[in-house]
Symmetry: none
Subunit: 202 residues, 4 copies
């Protein structure tokens, strides 16, 4: 219990500091201090810094996956699900403006070919594309579903970088609004089977 706490604390501290300062600029000493754990003890839980980083990214992945599941469960309309997802990034715009996206940040400064952390992090985007793609399919855009999903996350990532560069959370607000409008304008080409029953598209 207490132990579980420590390991979780380590992972959380790592995730937090990696987000704030980046992978390389965050030392294990920083993480240990943030988690209030003696540095020697870190190695009881994680054999290497990379292991801890992998765990941190995995946790982020799971958190995002859980969030997507929640959206799918609680919202019937796939379009609304996507809109809600986008709105999330509008809500946390201050955080992202200060520190960037915890996922995009890692993708940006790791080597996709050689670094296992990069690959583990990329899965978070892959998950999103799979989930969002599914929503687009449900809207009848089977053909373009994946491309649209990528475009959606691309919009969020780009907006995050611009917001950070200009230190203007408003940029994220503007861009996510644009994305929402885009989503709202997408025609529903298919009769969808929502949770609550049969509906007809406009």
């Amino acid at each position: 219990m207490n132990t579980q706490n420590k390991k979780e604390r380590l992972i959380d501290s790592a995730a937090t500091l990696f987000h704030r300062n980046g992978l390389m600029a965050t030392s294990l000493a920083d993480i240990a201090k943030h988690a209030d754990i003696p540095i020697g003890n870190v190695y009881y839980y994680f054999k290497t810094k990379d292991d801890l980083a992998l765990a941190a990214m995995l946790k982020r992945r799971q958190q995002f996956a859980a969030a997507y599941s929640l959206l799918s469960e609680n919202i019937d309309d796939p379009r609304e699900r996507l809109i809600e997802a986008v709105n999330y990034y509008a809500k946390i715009r201050n955080d992202y403006t200060k520190f960037g996206c915890p996922v995009g940040k890692i993708i940006n400064d790791t080597d996709m070919e050689k670094d296992p952390i990069a690959q583990a992090t990329a899965l978070i985007f892959a998950d999103f594309v799979a989930w969002a793609g599914e929503q687009f399919k449900q809207l009848g855009h089977s053909q373009d579903a994946q491309k649209m999903a990528i475009s959606l996350m691309s919009g969020i990532q780009g907006a995050t970088i611009m917001a950070k560069s200009f230190s203007q959370p408003q940029i994220l607000a503007d861009e996510t609004l644009r994305l929402v409008e885009w989503l709202e304008g997408i025609p529903n080409k298919k009769i969808t089977l929502g949770k609550a029953g049969i509906r007809t598209s406009a």
Copy 2:
């Protein structure tokens, strides 16, 4: 002259390696070796690593600025200028897919508030927004010019991250195409004053 050469070589090597491997993962020794200059000599030209990084980012800024000027000089239609700018990113998509955007990369893992390098780098985006904003104004979108400019670079940055994450240059090709189509669809609301003379809008 020779000295000037050395300094330039240092700056170029720094810019190249910062792009490839990031700010922190690139050591001064790496840069010195790449530029074929003895480490000890680096400090004759730059007081600190940060100074060299600042110079590298400044040079990038100047290169981009020169490119924008060139576009403005050589292309009459502001819309075409923007399209040409976007197409540049399509052309170098392989490089950006491997290493990310040299500007966005720095923005992502530096602290906007405290780090002078971050601020110097942000100017590159600011330049773009100023330049692209001017083009949008010339298209009669005075009101939204800046927002549109930001949106444009946002699209490029986002596409770069997604392309890198999936190791698919095609993503950059797709997204830049989307941006070009968007640019083509923007109405020209104004009588534009091209280089060659007065024109009338539709």
Copy 3:
């Protein structure tokens, strides 16, 4: 009983790993894992790593001593006893070629003056010299018995190192054969008193 088992397992694992990898290159964690005993529990049985090493060397000593006793019991002729002892090293030449002699290895990289482990290990050689010396005495070489015994073990140790250095078990085979021939050529200067009664030498 169970406890005894655990302690024995620890000692055996320690002896095995010390032989394979040496004293310093073997961590307590390695030993505990090999013995399938939780690390924390090791310290119930042994106060320090050195204590465990001492126990491991003591066990080796006892095993060798038992083997000498067995030879003395089962073989009447002291010369044959020595030959049999030498042949043992020929039989296990592959093991010794890979890992060296478990005794010589420790002797080699410990400080005879300060390290109790070194001293405990040296007793294994002392035992051999005492036992083999006794055989030489029984062959009537009272004067040179100890020197001959040392020479015998010296031959085995040297051959082990050379075999390991060249990764050629054959070297151990050759050298032990040479030693056997030497043993066979030693004149029996004395009427020996075997187990079964009085015998005359050839």
Copy 4:
């Protein structure tokens, strides 16, 4: 010059301490302190501890090779050369009794298959076997030359271990004497061509 001195001092200190305390028990801090060089500076000369160890073993190899050359140059009779070589070990018996053989020591506690240091060290024995083998050939023992050379070094190595184990330099004196007697007893089966002209064997 001064630099060369430092590098040499590092190598010499490393060789000395590796001999005294073994590879693993010697820390870079120990070596740096012994050479009176700040530890950070060690890495200017050697990228890793293994690199330094390799350099130290290489220097030993060169020293031994130089010694063999000297023997070949200064002594006409190959038998005398071998005897002189063996006598060397008698002379330094106190050192070897305390610390063991610097070569055999490394061979003993490294993994011949995986460790480059082990392989580099084995070359020292290979050199000896090549050189001593040549002497045996010149004595007309072409067939057994290599085996005899190995046997010779085997005798020295074994004696060293026994001398160290019993803390008795006399053991090394005894065994080297035995080896010398063996060498003296070897028949010269060949007409040898000495430096000074043609000679006939006894």
